[in-house]
């Protein structure tokens, strides 16, 4: 299982981070930070990195700036 924003999803091997978060409608977009096990993953690497079983992903949405 993997966890995205507190919800569990089945783990599929050979799935990239981008594919995993796409199921939530998230596109490769620099306004959404993808945090994997506490580390921010640069958005241009999302489609290169494979997720591991048990990973915890948080999606943080940039709404402001300063």
């Amino acid at each position: 299982m993997i966890i995205i924003d507190g919800k569990s999803y089945p783990y599929q091997p050979d799935t990239t981070v981008l594919e995993a978060v796409s199921q939530l409608g998230i596109q490769s977009d620099n306004m959404v930070l993808v945090v994997i096990d506490g580390r921010v993953m640069p958005w241009n690497q999302l489609d290169q990195e494979l997720i591991q079983d048990g990973v915890e992903i948080r999606l943080l949405h940039i709404v402001s700036g300063g």
Binding site: N30, L33, V40, P42, S64, G65
Partner: protein, 567 residues
Amino acid sequence: MWSTLNINMKNLTVSREPFPDKYREMGGRGLIAQYMMDHVPPTCDPLGEENKLLICTTVFAGTNLTTAHRISIGGKSPLTGGIKESNAGGYAANLLAGQGIRMAVVEGLPDTDGLWLVHINAKGEVALEDATAYEGTNNYEFVDKMHEKYGKNIATISIGSAGERIHRIASIQISEFGEGYPSRAAARGGMGSVMGSKRLKAIVIEKPETRFEPEYADRETFKAVCTELNKVIATGAKADPFRNIGTIATIEATGLSGVLPVENFSGKLFPEYTEVGANKFLTNLASRGGRNKQICQPGCVVKCSNVYNDKEGNYLTSGFEYETIALFGPNCRISDLDVIARMDRICDDCGIDTIEVANAIAISMEMGKIPWGDGEAAIGLLQEIKDGTEFGQLLGNGCEVVGNALGCKRIPVVKHQGMAGYDPRNTKGTGITYATSPQGADHTAGLTLGRAMADTGRAAQGYASNKLQVAMAFADSMMCIFAFANCVPSMPLLADLMAGLYGGKPDITRVTGMGVKTLLTEKAYNKMAGMTEADDKIPEFFKTEASPATGSVFDVGDAELACILNF
């Protein structure tokens, strides 16, 4: 009934008067705009007798709305020559409101040499005290001394040596809630020099014995709506990178897209930005006992602040923010977060705008005064400001002054104010805001990153800048813009709050109208101060030099800029 604290530096008197009814439904940026229009001649000398320093809090002062106690400091800016509202967090606004003070007005210049501070004690008594003992004392030491004298239940609004020397980029530092570090900066526009020109060192506010309670038109409705809105903001904040990491998270959005300024706004990419990015920041916090998710004022549910320690685990700085990191970092080709933190500390201590001085340092690097990427040399330049050397004096007056002195052709300013951490070629809407905001190159006035279509394109960027400038103008009259960003889905509740507090109908145009009115008032003020459409321009080099990261130039024409703030 709310009071105005009148601080007359000519007569050396301080008194409380009833807060004028005509400003009843105003606060923050909106209040400053109207008050300036009513009381401060637009053609006055910003460092002269007629300018006033205005310190106020928001329209929701005294209530439990989260972040209602932002502080707005305004006047005529010695940097831009126009109206300025400089906004900060910290504890002072909360205590001013607790003391029943809605606004403080500092006017006049003393006839005699001296330095003073205003002290408001726990009983609400106000006094103007001699502060010559603190002359030349920088903010951290000053706050320590105030803690020794008055205890820790205080807030301070103070200037450091930069303000005392009347440097045009001097900040006013506000102490944070909790430890009281003077790390929240009302930085932009040189309000610290206005305070310094009036020989006012600080305002020290003790926590009142009895907290002032505002009058509500409908207290129960207000409370219910306030609880709901606070919940909405808290829920949004859970997924907000500013809460989970800090404002440094912005670099993860700007670092790969050419928005992050690199090497004096060269428009290049800086792959080493990860050395000063979110992951490095979090690692350093975790391994050194630093903290994020900190509040700067009581009741904040966004919690974007932080405490950053050095390698030995000792306190180094707090309120360590994206703009400072971007502009001292990649824009100077510096990739050492600790060096930047030291610079942040120096700036907070002597009271100087990090954005301005960082731009000045980048220009100094471009012109060969010090090497690119040399953090220690950059710290050396900051030390020159503290030491008051000849070059330090130049630095203290902003990046345009430094640029002109060194013969630099690439000076990133609008209305003489340095740009923030966003390259206008790669976030054109933000560039439009820089150009057209009455505040000068101010990103908080309307940052359009990710809000319209492609950031490097023109489509909808003007629209986004217009909408955001209105929104920020009323948000800066009500609460922290980070809290506001998380309450946008429930914006009508702000109208309910206005009605609950002030009476009348819960009409959203009361809120949005505040934004439009503020902008129009500021524009009118600037016009009377002598500004023209020629001041609404992005520097030429952004139009001719393509950003190597994206190929983009700033191609929004003058005719398009001219109608951005038409209503």
